[in-house]
């Protein structure tokens, strides 16, 4: 989860990383009671980068100018995102601008400290000059000093910059972050340092163990869910495509393999769902059976999907137990549709199961009454070929 600048700065203030006086603006009229002295800079609070270039950052010197600029920024989408709030902040004269970050690195399997004496707008052209220190063992301030020295800093700046890095690291660990960035860290002519902009990414898995962050996440989720209609997929590991073949598989790797096989066979995948809830934080335990039913429901409701390809392998539940869940789902669906069922959308099911009880599972499913009896196969390549063939023939019939 990415924080907005004003949220990141609230954390900076709490841990005593120096920031400028600022005020959150929910509405242009809030500027009438602005406590930060002019001139101020108004900044759009959106998650995307490139705010300045897009016109989301404006310097203003009077209340009238500020209100006009604020109205403008509130109505300016940046990469499709409209700000809910602005941040009004004092102006700061910098002599130099540094880049500082703490990031979790999967290769080193450690947090890594990053820094460059050429931050702010210079960063992009000096990307390869970023210095790096891996925090191999338990953190101690010397890691921060090593980074400061590698950045080429001298004298008092070594201490003042490494003090900031030390606080950044503390925040990084305390809040379970993936990334914490200060860019730029403004350095005044007198050598004072100031965090002018910040980026914070909280690790999604850790959110639930921080009540304060969980509350922020819930608030954010309720806002996005109002805007987006695909809320049903929000707690699924999924890929959204717009073809004809919906895919359900248990496990990330198996889902990707199925997606690859369908695509290579000339099929067009639609929504692909991973049935294994490898990311069940905060959702409580949902049984595999319930999840399978939910997945079938989601794909069946998608009018664009003509074939649902299930690919399930494993020992709990067994192939026969899976077959039972699918049979119940189909019987329930057919009976609740009653006589109108012909008019309703019923994608064909290709079910790939494997295991000792495959034959029993197959029998359970192909003996079902009703229309659109599922096709049950044990060989994965054959199941994929069948799914692609069916999707093509259904499309051809409708043309």
């Amino acid at each position: 989860m990415d924080l907005l600048e004003y949220q990141a700065k609230k954390w900076f203030r709490e841990i005593a990383i120096p920031i400028l006086p600022s005020q959150k603006i929910d509405h242009p009229r809030d500027l009438k009671t602005l406590k930060v002295p002019y001139p101020v800079v108004l900044k759009s609070q959106v998650h995307t980068g490139g705010r300045s270039k897009a016109g989301g950052v404006r310097f203003v010197s009077t209340t009238i100018d500020a209100i006009a600029a604020a109205q403008n920024i509130f109505n300016l989408p940046i990469l499709g995102e409209l700000p809910e709030v602005l941040l009004a902040e004092a102006k700061y004269e910098t002599d130099r601008e540094f880049y500082l970050a703490v990031v979790l690195d999967g290769v080193a399997r450690r947090p890594v400290l990053l820094g460059s004496p050429q931050g702010g707008i210079h960063l992009e052209s000096a990307w390869d000059k970023i210095e790096c220190v891996v925090v191999e063992q338990e953190f101690s301030p010397f890691y921060a000093r090593r980074l400061a020295v590698k950045m080429g800093l001298e004298g008092a700046l070594i201490q003042s910059v490494s003090a900031i890095i030390e606080k950044m690291y503390r925040l990084f660990v305390e809040k379970d972050l993936d990334l914490l960035e200060i860019n730029p860290l403004g350095v005044s002519a007198k050598g004072e340092v100031m965090a002018l902009d910040g980026k914070v990414t909280v690790n999604d898995r850790a959110i639930e163990r921080h009540p304060e962050i969980a509350a922020m996440a819930a608030k954010m989720a309720s806002r996005t869910n109002n805007k987006e209609k695909n809320g049903a997929l929000s707690n699924w590991d999924s890929v959204e495509r717009h073809g004809k073949i919906g895919i359900l598989a248990n496990g990330t790797g198996l889902l990707m393999t199925t997606l690859d096989l369908v695509t290579n066979a000339g099929g067009k995948p639609a929504t692909c769902l991973n049935l294994t809830n490898g990311f069940a934080v905060g959702t409580g335990f949902i049984s595999f059976e319930e999840r399978l039913e939910q997945g079938l429901q989601i794909l069946t409701q998608d009018k664009g999907i003509q074939v649902i390809m299930l690919n399930l392998i494993g020992s709990f539940p067994t192939a026969l137990e899976v077959a039972d869940v699918i049979a119940n789902f189909l019987q329930h669906r057919d009976s609740s549709n009653g006589t109108k069922s012909r008019a309703l959308h019923h994608p064909r099911l290709i079910i790939r199961l494997a295991g000792n009880d495959f034959s029993a599972a197959q029998r359970r499913l192909i003996e079902l009454d009703g229309q659109n009896v599922p096709i049950v196969l044990e060989n994965l390549d054959e199941a994929v070929a069948e799914a692609v063939r069916l999707a093509k023939s259904i499309t051809a019939r409708r043309l």
Partner: protein
């Protein structure tokens, strides 16, 4: 690595859903499951497996333990692993999912310091067909033999084992390191183990998008491994940069290039290392047979 049917195995988080089933499946396969740990259930028994409140009590009752398999909820995994290390267990398999990466950083530091092997999280464990099962592998897809599988996936590994079995190629050892952003052990470590394993004649390496462990593995294979290796990478048509509910956010940063973690980068690395890559799981047995006859 101590992986014999005699080695003593503990199960932590015994109260979690399905764990009792997995424990009995392991026992039935011949694994020496000596105890379970579940805080609050001490003194009970799950059929013939005694349950303890603490790892310490289990060790006192059954003697030194070789391997623990952790099923606890994600936020309790670090604590469970540290408890196991504190009482002398040096092989840890983490089946649990959703472990926060900073917990793993802490665990990896500790494990390195006391020479402990950590597999996972989000791993189905290890199976040596016909001999021992440590984790959640379904036994029915396996056949004893001489092909080793080292993988980042779980169910996809079952699929590949099944393809090999159907073609009459048995397996010496199948292991999945899990596909979290930070893993307790790497593909490379397990390649070394399989390379040294005298029962293994050829190796199948199964990768996924994200991170750079396949690239590192490819370079290592070219330099140090004489046994034939066949690779398979899932996700060539999956969206680039998607983090799949894992910790992909820690992927690309500075100096690693835009290509970091992509399937293409991995395929390029295998090509450079002259490692044959299967286009689909069913092609793997054929490539293994070719590689074995060439040798």
């Amino acid at each position: 690595m101590k992986l014999t049917p005699e080695s003593k195995v503990l199960i932590q988080g015994f109260e979690q859903p399905l764990v009792s089933n997995y424990a009995q499946q392991m026992k039935a396969y011949g694994t020496n499951v000596v105890a379970g740990v579940s805080s609050g259930s001490g003194g009970k028994k799950d059929r013939d497996i005694p349950i303890f409140d603490l790892v310490e009590q289990a060790v006192t009752a059954v003697g030194a333990i070789d391997t623990t398999i952790i099923f606890t909820p994600s936020y309790e995994v670090l604590d469970a692993a540290l408890e196991a290390i504190a009482f002398g267990i040096r092989q840890i398999i983490i089946v649990s999912t959703g472990v926060p990466p900073l917990d793993l950083v802490q665990l990896v530091r500790k494990a390195e310091a006391c020479d402990t092997l950590v597999l996972g999280p989000n791993s189905p464990g290890i199976i040596i067909p016909g001999k021992i099962l440590l984790g959640t592998y379904p036994q029915e897809y396996h056949l004893p033999g001489s092909i080793g599988i080292v993988s980042r996936s779980s169910t996809l590994t079952y699929e590949i084992a099944r393809e090999l079995t159907v073609s009459g190629l048995g397996q010496s050892i199948c292991v999945s390191i899990g596909n979290d952003g930070i893993t307790g052990s790497s593909l490379l470590q397990w390649l070394q183990i399989l390379d040294e394993d005298e029962n293994t004649d050829a190796i199948v390496l199964v990768g996924e998008p994200g991170g750079s462990s396949e690239e590192t593995a490819a370079r290592y294979i070219a330099e140090a491994i004489d046994k034939p290796v066949v690779a398979y990478i899932a996700g060539i048509h999956a969206p680039v940069g998607k983090n799949w509910g894992h910790t992909g956010a820690l992927a690309a940063f500075i100096g690693r290039g835009m290509d970091f973690g992509t399937v293409q980068s991995k395929l390029d690395a295998f090509k450079a290392a002259k490692i044959p890559v299967a286009e689909r799981p069913s092609e793997i047995p054929e490539l293994i047979n070719q590689a074995l006859t060439k040798k």
